[in-house]
């Protein structure tokens, strides 16, 4: 058990920031992001204890749990679409933490808000590729799609993002 503890502890240290950032960019609330990220790692730990040998890619494993957790969160809040541009202003967290506000200047905040309006898969691909430096091949494996499709979706996501930012 100690060995599993150590292994998962190492995985936690490696991915906590990435998973938190991934979730935060989807829910735009520090409190909610912390809550969901905690659940992700709790579920991750439960699964890891049962089938550590089967988990070859901890990154994919955790991101999958994170995606599902975010879906569950919105479902509980009575939404079927993860992102809708009409709904989005309601979910903005007016208590957004001061630390992140200070760090993000106005332009970056616009980019952050625009990312939240993207279609879910475009959102995920952009976050993974540009923020978590995940290669296209890994993303393709994660989403179960060909690498060529991922490249196209990345390009479309960027184009959509650019359009939204310029409209603002």
């Amino acid at each position: 058990m100690d060995s599993l503890n150590e292994q998962f502890s190492h995985i936690y240290d490696q991915y906590i920031e990435k998973i938190y950032r991934f979730v935060y960019l989807k829910v735009n609330s520090q409190e909610t992001a912390e809550d969901i990220t905690s659940k992700v790692f709790m579920r991750g730990w439960e699964s890891y204890q049962k089938k550590a040998d089967e988990i070859k890619n901890p990154s994919a494993f955790l991101y999958q749990i994170a995606r599902n957790a975010v879906v569950d969160y919105y479902r509980e809040r009575g939404r079927t679409n993860i992102v809708s541009s009409e709904v989005l202003p309601e979910i903005t967290d007016h208590g957004e933490d001061i630390q992140n506000k200070a760090i993000l200047n106005a332009d970056i905040s616009i980019v952050k808000t625009a990312i939240q309006k993207l279609e879910k898969e475009h959102q995920d691909i952009i976050i993974w590729h540009y923020l978590e430096d995940m290669p296209i091949s890994h993303i393709a494996e994660l989403l179960g799609r060909p690498a060529g499709t991922i490249r196209v979706m990345l390009h479309r996501g960027l184009k959509e993002l650019k359009g939204m930012i310029q409209e603002n």
């Binding site: 936690y12 950032r21 960019l25 912390e34 905690s38 790692f41 993000l104 952050k112 310029q166």
Partner: protein, 243 residues
């Protein structure tokens, strides 16, 4: 926001890497994950309705816990207070030593200053034990002093900064020690080593300092005394230069 290039957009996206979780939350969340019980645990007792009897029992239990805690606190405070009057060799002396170290930590005393203070306390204990004829405490007091002296020697050897105030205090303490009747620790190996270390540090310090002609002559005498292992005499002359 005016027209934005793809390159600029990607740069701005990458700026979002600055979003990080709170470090205290990261630590807390980790501890919560690993304190969770293993998944094999089966909940045996089904949820049942809470009755007024449960509430009363719970209140009584809380009262008992509160009284127990208050009693333990009083006992602890009493012990700590009583321990302040103990000296080496007494049963509760370790409690006093812990209190001394805690106070030093709270007031931000460094290792060297803390050990100087401890040495003074132990010398006072020895003087008191000698004065009151507490023969059972004297050997323990002497032993504690030797321990403190060894700690100080280590601190001085490891210290990069020559704390002249602390050194002066140590020398004064050792003089006081020499004056305690019925004990002579000046020949103990630990005390001799401390004197030697202090003398070494001070001589090295004086060699780096600009001295008057008279002081330079005194330094030569100090070095002679050091070579003859007359460390106490050497330190007395060093104190004359430093004053």
């Amino acid at each position: 926001m005016s027209k934005i290039t793809q390159k600029k957009l990607i740069e701005q996206i990458k700026e979002l890497k600055n979003i990080k979780p709170r470090s205290e939350w990261v630590v807390l969340a980790k501890s919560q994950i690993f304190s969770e019980k293993p998944v094999e645990v089966i909940i045996k007792n089904p949820v049942r309705k809470i009755s007024i009897f449960d509430v009363i029992t719970s209140i009584n239990l809380q009262k008992k816990l509160a009284y127990s805690f208050a009693t333990l606190t009083f006992i602890f405070v009493g012990l700590v207070g009583f321990a302040q009057h103990t000296m080496p060799g007494d049963l509760l002396f370790p409690v006093r030593r812990i209190t001394e170290n805690s106070q030093a930590a709270l007031t931000g005393q460094t290792g060297l200053k803390q050990n100087v203070a401890n040495l003074n306390n132990r010398i006072n204990d020895l003087a008191l034990a000698s004065k009151e004829g507490r023969k059972n405490n004297i050997p323990s007091a002497i032993s504690e002093i030797n321990v403190q002296v060894s700690e100080l020697t280590k601190d001085l050897k490891n210290s990069l900064i020559n704390d002249s105030v602390a050194v002066k205090e140590i020398v004064v303490s050792l003089k006081t020690l020499a004056d305690v009747p019925g004990t002579d620790l000046s020949e103990s190996p630990e005390v001799k080593e401390l004197y030697k270390t202090i003398a070494e540090n001070q001589i090295a310090d004086l060699e780096e300092t600009t001295l008057t002609e008279e002081q330079t002559e005194t330094l030569v005498e100090i070095k002679d005394l050091y070579e003859q292992e007359k460390y106490i005499d050497a330190l007395e002359k060093i104190l004359m230069i430093n004053n």
